[in-house]
């Protein structure tokens, strides 16, 4: 293999790891002000983004291959994941900046953990071996477990963290068991190349694929947990509601991106030869997620919890794209990218409304927001409309794209279910909007002090709104570009 690429293939991870180490060392040695953290973290993320961009320009579509003995892939898929995850981590940090800055010296660890989570997420997307994928998964998940419980003054943050950890460890174990079974069936943990899993499955007729399929099922469970698809979603509402407001957005957005990146590569590229087996299962998971997420979101009275259930439904919509196999990967990226920005924006508003450290965000906090903070309310309205799939927002274009992919794959019933859920979903998104504009705060209700929005959060909201509108009005250029974001 091309020797000069060996280190460049993991260059984004190296950049982030360097930033993390530098951050922690500088913190211990000089005890600097908060802006120094921002400089180091920003430099690390910028370097990671730049290196991903370089990988994208130089190696998208080109059959560059794998490095480090088939451990890591350099392809459009991985590069795009970097281009998505690193800026997302940057936005997440801006959104959480007030929270991080309020944590005293612990803020440095907070930032380090966000950077590590981003590195882990990119590793998950770029991994070309199940062992690598598992390490990426653990790097990513462990960072999030700690972040979920970062503000320990509230007992439910601790609770969220612990529950996330326990169930996440459980899901990881199931995933690992799946890896073991797939290894037993194919004799390899590597995805590509001679003797890799894709190669083996493409060239071998397996008469009794029980072990392979059992492994496949468990892999699916493990990754479905990460993306909070029903019925593996139970953790999401508790964790989103318990975690400190400032960090929930990043938690939700990054988990979706990383989980779906891994899922897409494993299913379409590695197990593509067994598509007939997994596609129906994925379709059922998608339908279940859409229905369960929508139904339960309707009855919520807490906005963060509502967004959590809506994220379950969105996991279903994204899975809908995967039903089309390789052909749906571009559509999946489009939905994923736009949704990640929307959910980050929505939780940023929630953090501003109910407080950075608060867990809950009951609907009562939102009453009359349209008068108290018109810009916040407008941003939230746009995010909610986009999530609901109103035309001329990116959410609509994304839904059209994934539905189209599923129709092409012959899954009309799934699309009909999803469309009905979309219609029903409008009710709960609208409920928040109605509360913001038409309801007035109850007499004597203890509203949090008037929403304070930091510059970081304002920037995040501006970016989210711009992206939602631009890609809603002219989605095609991006969709076209994403056609190149295919796994090897």
């Amino acid at each position: 293999m091309n020797g000069s690429l060996t280190f460049l293939s993991v260059a984004p991870e190296i950049a982030l790891a360097a930033a993390v180490v530098l951050l922690l060392l500088v913190e211990v040695t000089f005890k600097p002000r908060a802006w120094a953290w921002a400089v180091v973290a920003g430099a690390g993320l910028a370097a990671g983004t730049a290196l991903s961009a370089w990988q994208w320009v130089a190696h998208r579509g080109a059959d560059t291959g794998t490095f480090w003995n088939g451990m890591i892939a350099v392809d459009g898929f991985a590069a795009l994941a970097g281009l998505l995850v690193f800026p997302l981590a940057g936005l997440g940090l801006m959104s959480a900046w007030r929270l991080a800055a309020s944590q005293g010296r612990r803020g440095a660890e907070f930032i380090a953990l966000v950077l590590l989570a981003a590195a882990g997420a990119h590793l998950m997307a770029a991994a070309a071996d199940f062992i690598m994928l598992f390490i990426g998964l653990e790097v990513f998940s462990l960072s999030l477990y700690v972040l979920a419980g970062f503000t320990r003054e509230r007992v439910d943050a601790d609770e969220a963290s612990l529950k996330y950890f326990l169930l996440g460890a459980f899901a990881s174990a199931v995933f690992l068991y799946g890896v073991a079974l797939v290894f037993a069936a194919t004799g390899s943990t590597t995805f590509y190349g001679d003797g890799g899993i894709a190669d083996y499955l493409a060239g071998t007729v397996i008469f009794r694929p029980g072990v392979l399929l059992a492994g496949l099922a468990l892999l699916l469970v493990g990754l479905a947990f990460k993306v909070s698809a029903a019925p593996f979603h139970v953790w999401a509402p508790d964790v989103y509601q318990g975690a400190p407001g400032g960090v929930t957005g990043f938690l939700a957005a990054a988990a979706k991106v990383a989980g779906f990146a891994a899922l897409a590569r494993v299913l379409t590229a590695v197990l593509g030869a067994r598509a007939d087996d997994w596609v129906p299962a994925v379709a059922v998971l998608a339908a279940a997620s859409v229905v369960v997420g929508t139904l339960l979101a309707i009855v919520q009275d807490d906005v963060k919890r509502l967004l959590a259930y809506s994220s379950v439904a969105h996991a279903g919509f994204i899975l809908t794209a995967l039903v089309a196999g390789r052909g749906g990967v571009g559509d999946m990226w489009f939905y994923l990218a736009t949704y990640a920005v929307q959910v980050l924006g929505a939780f940023t508003v929630a953090a501003a409304v109910s407080g950075d450290r608060a867990g809950r965000s009951p609907l009562a906090h939102w009453a009359g927001l349209g008068r108290r903070a018109p810009w916040l309310a407008a941003a939230m309205t746009l995010m909610l409309l986009a999530m609901a799939g109103i035309p001329l927002t990116a959410g609509f274009a994304g839904k059209v794209a994934v539905f189209r992919a599923a129709i092409d794959a012959g899954y009309l019933w799934l699309v009909i279910v999803a469309v009905l859920a979309t219609v029903a979903g409008l009710f709960f998104y609208l409920r928040v909007i109605v509360a913001m504009y038409l309801a007035s705060p109850e007499e004597g209700a203890s509203l949090p002090a008037s929403p304070a929005v930091g510059w970081g959060a304002r920037f995040v909201l501006a970016v989210a709104a711009a992206a939602t509108l631009v890609f809603g009005i002219a989605p095609w250029p991006l969709l076209e570009v994403l056609r190149d974001a295919l796994p090897l």
Binding site: V155, E159, L167, G210, V221, P231, L296, V299, A401, L430
Partner: protein, 626 residues
């Protein structure tokens, strides 16, 4: 882009731009500048439509496609406009009637704090409606469709401080969503069948490629959408409540334009309905059933605007019956004349309400003709028009629908008979309204000083009265101008035709007789010194609209909530919420009991994951065997 295309594009952009301007600067512009701006944009759009549509009158012009931009082009989703006689007619009606209503609103909304906002919404509404009618494919049609729904929500709950208005807006939105669900699924099916959403592709290829079953499925789902938007049974319940909005809104949205979207859509996709005779019959049945049903309810209403609302539903039913029977031209014709006289009726009612300082109850009006001469004259014109008295506009269009129904023979004769009965009822309830409101003894409160509306309002009334009076000339049996005009748009369709010769005269005489009978009955009952008692169980049933609203509230609202509650309680509260709520208490009771209970809950989650995993495993192993 040539001149014609620019004109048609401007048709939408003018009101849209006006709306944006008004939203941004409406408050600063103040009265009446904001209203003038709004009126001018719509008026200019009307002029453009008239100029651009003039070519069709000459008969030489072809339908033109105006591509706007490729929006998701490879998915077959393009944004473009289609300018043909059908869309031209609709555009003329929307902008013409719309401009007059804008003009009227300058007077009606005087001194309202939301003056600028009102015209911004109204302009947006006109723009949305134009997008809907000018779309060259289902995708853009749907965009307009949703925008129209949104605008109606905004305008119905314009006075959102009133809880009734806010609730009415929500109701309109929700009921429309029910229809939209069907509409969306229909679009999915269309896309699945043709791989495209443009009319050109879909309607052009339908005859060759679509199976009857698929056509029936698509059209029935389309009908569901149309029934939601055009307030047909069983999705009509939002329209009477929608009268909570300002009266010009009722005139514009809920009488003249928005509700016609469903009729227009059925006419536009006539090719598909042609392929599915069952659906066409269902359209006609729903239409004529709604017509009779709503007319009977209208007889017993006291709120002047509710009478008109039910009358709208009933008249829309006529149009549905017409297009369902293949009488597309007659349906569109009635749509046009109805827009004239119903807008006039609403604006006249608005003038009456305006004069009585907000009074809407017919029982507290009467004898107003002395005080409101202009309003009375124009209202009388509209009344005779809707009742079907020749030679006013309503007579020609209604008679054409009825005659076509009769001419198709067979079971359609029954539809015709119901239509005739409805015509009698229509004449009756409209006469009741006119007699109670304008004639007879005065019953309004002491101290009220009814006064004629300001000039801007009466000018609009007068213009509409002329249209209602003479609008029928565009399509008489002797000079079927509209039919020639619209012919290219319905090319290749199996159009129903009028009967000929003596039959036609007999039918016309019958419908005039029905109208006259209705008017005479009402005159006998309401022009006497003593008003009839109007009570008894039948009356009560009619007044409450057969109790359908209450039943809906009970069945759907409660049923839907029950489903949601069930999931909530069974799945969420015990499992998920129970944990969170219980946790606060639990954590504080530090002790031996804490740990086993807490792990118990997480175990429950774990169990959920395991069950899911087992289900997946079972699926995969059943696929692969061992």
């Amino acid at each position: 882009m040539e001149a014609g295309e620019v004109m048609v594009s401007l048709l939408i952009l003018l009101p849209l731009g006006g709306s944006a301007l008004l939203l941004a600067f409406g408050r600063r512009l103040g009265e009446p500048a904001a209203g003038v701006l709004g009126t001018l944009t719509v008026g200019a759009a009307f002029v453009l439509a008239a100029v651009a549509g003039g070519d069709f009158l000459a008969g030489g012009a072809h339908a033109t496609h105006i591509p706007w931009f490729d929006w998701l082009a490879p998915l077959g989703v393009r944004a473009g406009l289609l300018w043909d006689p059908l869309s031209a007619l609709m555009a003329l009606v929307v902008t013409g009637v719309g401009a007059l209503i804008h003009l009227y609103s300058i007077g009606y909304m005087k001194a309202d704090p939301g003056f600028g906002r009102f015209f911004a919404y109204m302009n947006l509404f006109v723009a949305s409606m134009l997008i809907l009618v000018l779309a060259d494919g289902f995708a853009l049609l749907f965009v307009g469709w949703e925008l129209v729904g949104l605008c109606s929500y905004l305008l119905i709950s314009f006075w959102f401080e009133k809880p009734v208005a806010a609730a009415a807006g929500k109701k309109a939105f929700v009921v429309n969503r029910v229809g939209d669900a069907g509409f969306l699924v229909a679009l999915m099916l269309v896309f699945a069948a043709f791989g495209s959403l443009s009319y050109e592709e879909v309607l052009g290829r339908a005859a060759g490629e679509l199976s009857t079953g698929m056509a029936t499925a698509i059209t029935l789902l389309l009908l569901m959408g149309a029934a939601g938007k055009s307030a047909q049974f069983p999705l009509y319940v939002w329209l009477p409540d929608a009268m909570e909005g300002p009266t010009p809104v009722s005139a514009l949205i809920h009488a003249a334009t928005m509700v016609t979207a469903g009729v227009f859509m059925v006419a536009r996709t006539g090719v598909l309905f042609d392929l599915a005779p069952v659906s066409a019959a269902v359209v006609a049945a729903v239409g004529i059933g709604t017509a009779l049903y709503a007319a009977s309810i209208a007889v017993a209403q006291y709120d002047i605007k509710r009478v008109l609302a039910y009358s709208t539903i009933s008249q829309l039913g006529y149009m549905f019956a017409g297009v369902g029977a293949g009488a597309y031209v007659a349906g569109m014709f009635h749509l046009t004349t109805h827009a004239f006289f119903k807008a006039l009726l609403f604006l006249g009612a608005g003038a009456v309400i305006h004069a009585l300082a907000g009074e809407q109850d017919l029982r507290r009006m009467g004898g107003l003709w002395r005080r409101l001469p202009v309003t009375t004259v124009t209202m009388v014109v509209a009344w005779l028009a809707i009742s079907g008295i020749p030679p006013l506009a309503g007579f020609w269009s209604k008679d054409e629908i009825l005659a076509t129904l009769f001419a198709r023979g067979g079971a359609w004769r029954a539809v015709w008979a119901v239509g005739l009965l409805t015509a009698l009822l229509t004449a009756f309830y409209m006469s009741r309204l006119i007699f109670l409101a304008l004639f007879g003894e005065r019953r309004w409160a002491e101290g009220a000083h009814p006064h004629e509306a300001p000039k801007v309002m009466t000018v609009a009334l007068g213009a509409l009265a002329v249209l209602a009076l003479a609008g029928g000339v565009v399509n008489t049996p002797w000079r079927p101008g509209l039919e020639h005009f619209l012919e290219p748009a319905f090319e290749g369709l199996d159009l129903a035709h009028l009967p000929s010769g003596a039959t036609q005269w007999v039918l016309a005489a019958l419908s005039v007789a029905a109208a006259a009978a209705g008017i005479l009955l009402a005159a006998g009952a309401y022009l006497r010194a003593r008003r009839p008692a109007e009570e008894g169980p039948t009356w009560e049933l009619l007044r409450r609209g057969y109790g359908v609203d209450e039943a809906y509230a009970r069945v759907f609202a409660a049923g839907g909530q029950a489903v949601a509650r069930f999931t909530d309680e069974a799945v969420d509260q015990k499992g998920v919420d129970g944990l969170v709520n219980g946790l606060g208490v639990l954590v504080r009771t530090v002790g031996e009991r804490l740990r086993p209970l807490q792990t118990g809950f997480v175990r429950q989650y774990g169990l959920g994951i395991v069950l899911g995993a087992v289900a997946l495993l079972a699926w995969f192993l059943s696929r692969g065997g061992f």
